[in-house]
Amino acid sequence: MTAYLLKRLIIAALTLVLASMVVFAIMEVLPGDPARLMLGLNASADQVELLRNQMGLNAPLVLRYLHWAGGLLRLDFGRSYTYSVPVIDLVRERVAVSLPLALIALALSTIIAIPVGVFSASRQGRAGDTLAMGAAQLGVAVPNFWFALILIYLFAVWLHLVPAGGFPGWNAGIWPALKSLILPAVALALPQAAILGRVARSALIEVLNEDYIRTARAKGLPYRAVLWRHGLRNAMIPVLTILGLQFAFLLAGTIIIENVFYLPGLGRLIFQAITQRDLIVVESIVMLLVAAVILINLLVDFSYAIVDPRLRGRQ
């Protein structure tokens, strides 16, 4: 067991190091000069060169990589070229938007998906099941940014219930802040709920066909009790796996949605940083997201190993 965990950890660390090299290399070949961008049309070539030196852009490649990667290890992400504040401060502000958004979306998707999955599984093959799964098929097919546009049109432009975009900041109060996260969260949650609902249904059906469920029913336990108490609990593993994956996806997948709603979140920051060639910000956020994905995968792996020792041999 320990050996297995150790191996997974080493692999995760290696993946991180490789990823950091890939990210750095990508940023290196990205066309465009951040210094020229900051100084504009009227600046002379000498001025641009001067600023490049100041920004440390003219140091040798390997040195810059080591400097950056070394900083990461000490959790020092460097300073943003454009905002000239520490990257960590920027990230902290943005995570305060993206993380709640991802969490709300995840909660919404779970709240919708689990009951639908249970409902469908318990009425397998009947009209209700067909209808619910048809709706789920539709949900999977809807691009979330298009769904977001429709939501904006209905609830912001037409009904004026929520703002069409923007984020007032948590300082403006919990409710106004939450209000501006509702539509984006719904837009993110729907396709995820559709996927999760399908997984929950098939996992539950699989479990309900197991012998011990039949035994429980034979003992005269009511169907509902069997379904919720035994069935759902045992169907939780695949559901949780998907949830973990979805969380990682949501953290990064908010890029487009944050752009639709003008939310000052991580996704928007990274998009802006790419266009402004704020390379250090891009590198740091990508690494942060990659690390999050790796960590979640690691946790999923560990939980598998704990639940089902047979899996360890197969990895």
Binding site: V22, A141, I150, I255
Partner: protein, 289 residues
């Protein structure tokens, strides 16, 4: 979700009979054929020329003259949706091709050789999977510039590990079969066995994964085009049309509705088709669905 398949040991007639009684398959097939037909028709005929801008006719609501209305340049949206189908299908199809063409041999190789080759492949897979796909696609197009070809590459790269993983898992199961042992005993080499025996037996698995990735590819292309990184004008694309529509939701909602519906219908059709195929070829399907 993991999918388990047993070899299709039924007769062709049996499979066909199942196919024609499978609702998902039939609806999915009908939609997919419809979209492909629309895309093909657009090569020879569209109601209007999509490269011609008629500023005087801009943002007209749907009418008998323009069934889906016109966009901000006065182009006919129905025509653009038709031509856009071509673009979406092409991008998604080639991206699946890249994924299969590179991923399947890699996965097959890893399964056949095992050991270091297998380990290396899985580590590279880990690496690619660690990057959020959309983010990497944005970075790739930031380097090479936006455009349909680069969108294909960006989406295709992420299909490679998917197919490698599916092919590897499928192939590993087959390698333990008796008929493989027999083939080995007959002196056939690893490559030959992979091509002659393994590949046909994982083909259905790949087909199902292919339709899933195809649908995902259409969504990904729309997403990339939506942020301005996909096909470039004058070539219409569904995602781009949605981007143009976004700022005009108040004044011209039809600009958003029709291309969006096109994406939904296409992805829905492909997903139903994939589900249908899986149902038909999976002996356990009767129980699960």
């Amino acid at each position: 979700m993991t999918m388990r398949f047993d070899l299709p040991e039924e007769t062709l007639a049996g499979v066909l009979a199942k196919a024609f009684s499978n609702r998902s398959f039939l609806i999915g097939l009908a939609i997919t054929l419809l979209i492909v037909a629309v895309a093909l028709i657009s090569f020879v005929w569209t109601p209007y020329d999509v490269t011609r801008l008629v500023i005087a006719d801009k943002t007209q609501a749907p009418s008998w003259v323009h069934w889906f209305g016109t966009d901000h340049f006065g182009r006919d949206i129905l025509s653009m949706v038709m031509v856009g189908a071509r673009n979406s299908i092409a991008v998604a199809l080639v991206a699946v091709g890249i994924g299969m063409g590179i991923g399947v041999p890699l996965g097959g190789l890893a399964a056949a050789r095992g050991g270091l080759a297998d380990e290396a492949l899985m580590r590279v897979n880990d690496l690619v999977f660690a990057f959020p796909a959309l983010l990497s696609a944005i970075m790739i197009t930031a380097i090479f510039g936006p455009g349909a070809v680069n969108a294909i590459i960006a989406i295709g790269i992420f299909n490679i590990p998917v197919f490698a993983r599916v092919a590897r898992a499928g192939a590993l199961a087959i390698w333990t079969r008796e008929f493989i042992l027999a083939a080995r005993a007959a002196g056939k080499g690893v490559t030959r066995i992979s091509i002659e025996h393994i590949l046909p037996n994982i083909a259905t698995l790949l087909l199902v994964q292919g339709t899933i990735q195809f649908a995902l590819g259409i969504l990904a292309e729309a997403g990339l085009s939506y942020v301005g990184l996909g096909a470039q004008p004058p070539m219409p694309s569904w995602g781009r049309m949605l981007f143009d529509a976004q700022t005009r939701m108040v004044t011209a909602p039809w600009m958003a509705i029709f291309p969006g519906m096109a994406i939904v219908v296409t992805v829905l059709g492909l997903n139903l088709l994939g589900d249908g195929i899986a149902d038909i070829l999976d002996p356990k399907s009767r129980r699960r669905r």
